[in-house]
Amino acid sequence: MIDDEAVMVARLGRFVIQKIKNAFYSIGFFFIVIKESLFFLRRRQVGFKVLVMQILFTGVEALPIIAIISIGLGAVIIIQGVSLLPRFGQGDLIYSILIIVITRELGPLLTAFIIIARSGTAIATEIGNMVTSHEIEAYMSVGINPVSYLVVPRFLGVTISLLLLNLYFNIFGLVGSYFVTQLVQAVPFREYFSSLLTQLVPADIFSSLIKSLAFGVIISTVATYHGFQVDYASTEIPQKVIKAVAQSFVYCILANVVIALVYYI
């Protein structure tokens, strides 16, 4: 009985120690990525091509889906708002709601979710495959630092792309949705845009961009970190991808809450 308890305590101890080690490892990984990113441009890295490809994949190829979602979301808010709010004498609130939902809250968050699904999974899978096929070791053997060549371009690419996609989301969500709404319910053009611009303050744009920046950093770091966590077998890859997706969602939502709190405080 005492032996069993001792074994259990030992296991628990090992589990806790491993968790602490992993936490330190992931913090160390993050700081190495930041350090290598700062040196990226100065070193005239051959990884510049990888950065361009990453922006193309994450920032450009995701445009259609971002456009559809943002226009749809904006149109729904306008349609619901113009039919419901005037009943309570609050018709002008529609513009504040549009700014809060599209620019400040759902714009950055939905963009991040789309990028987690598209690029986060792709990055974790690609790096996991590279680990199992010894391609990472091959990079090391020729002197190429896998963090500076593989992680940094993805880190910068995803972060830059998220900033741009968030901008697109806002444009499509606030402008594009207006035109869609015209098909259902006519809203005067001048009234719509002048009211919208009156409500839009620099702090909204700043908060939105800060969120995109934070989400880009989270998604790219989590995806590459879990890709490198693959050890030997290709069967580990889907497990790590699922972990990367789940953690990215959680961290993005937490970051969103923190930034929103800071904004209101």
């Binding site: 005239r44 053997s141 020729v142 002197g143």
Partner: protein, 268 residues
């Protein structure tokens, strides 16, 4: 006659999970010589090569490169060390998302940034011709046979003209025609006086290129030293390991040690 040491392991310990791969491992690899590492599958040959190449870091102990601990290398020194190293992986480990040309061009572009793209192309084409690569270099690794991938892997390892070359089971999973080409290639590299470390089960390759032989078993060095001395070792465990390893890899039933000697005599 004392030989200059290229790489030295001092009290190396490597632990993977709960398995101890190496414990208190001490060994030296001489400069300008070819050392062959033999041992049963899973005895740590590949790990030993990766430790020597600095791809894998030990949990304890030191890997000394020409006397200096690898862990104390500055970033510049590490880069210089890598530049003068070539590693041929067991499974070729070519970068799947790049063409063969790009696989060879990348190390050049990385280490010799001043090179014009035309010069990079010229060097890559020359290297492919030297090793006798027969396919289109614009193809990706998945479009090539295992043998051609292995040849491309050799080309990538040699493209920066390294002074130390590591080869992890270079003759595995390829046909006899490619095996002959690779053995000739390794013999040519050896003639250039480069330091070579090879892990293999192949008796013919061993007999033709080994100056030094290391016999490994379960992460421990049973015997190491000059090839002639090791193959004549009277240690029963060494004889057992060598006979087992070589007989499994060869089709010969005869005395494996005789076979090694015969091939060597033929070559000389």
């Amino acid at each position: 006659m004392s030989m200059e040491t290229a790489i030295r392991f001092e009290n190396i310990e490597v632990i993977k999970g709960e398995i101890i791969l190496f414990e208190d491992l001490n060994i030296s690899f001489p400069k300008g010589k070819s050392t062959v590492i033999m041992g049963p599958s899973g005895c740590g040959k590949s790990t030993m090569l990766k430790l020597a190449a600095g791809i894998l870091l030990p949990d304890r102990g030191n890997v000394l490169i020409e006397g200096k601990p690898l862990l104390k290398f500055s970033e510049k020194e590490l880069m210089e060390f890598r530049k003068h190293n070539g590693f041929v992986f067991q499974d070729a480990a070519l970068w799947a998302n790049k063409s063969i040309f790009q696989n060879l061009a990348l190390p050049l572009e990385f280490h010799f940034r001043h090179l014009h793209s035309n010069e990079v192309r010229r060097r890559v084409e020359k290297m492919l011709a030297t090793i006798g690569f027969r396919d289109d270099p614009n193809l990706r690794p998945a479009q090539l046979s295992a043998g051609e991938c292995k040849m491309a892997s050799f080309a990538r390892a040699l493209i920066t003209d390294p002074s130390v070359i590591f080869m992890d089971s270079p003759l595995i999973s390829i046909d006899s025609e490619v095996i002959d080409r690779i053995i000739r290639l390794i013999q040519d590299i050896k003639k250039e006086g480069k330091t070579i470390l090879i892990s293999t089960h192949d008796p013919r390759l061993t007999s033709l290129v080994a100056d030094e032989l290391v016999v490994l078993k379960k992460g421990a060095v049973l015997e190491s030293g000059e090839f002639d001395n090791v193959v004549r070792s009277t240690d029963k465990e060494v004889i057992t390991v060598l006979t087992d390893v070589l007989s499994k890899a060869s089709t010969f039933d005869g005395d494996i040690l005789e076979l090694l000697d015969t091939d060597r005599e033929k070559d000389s």
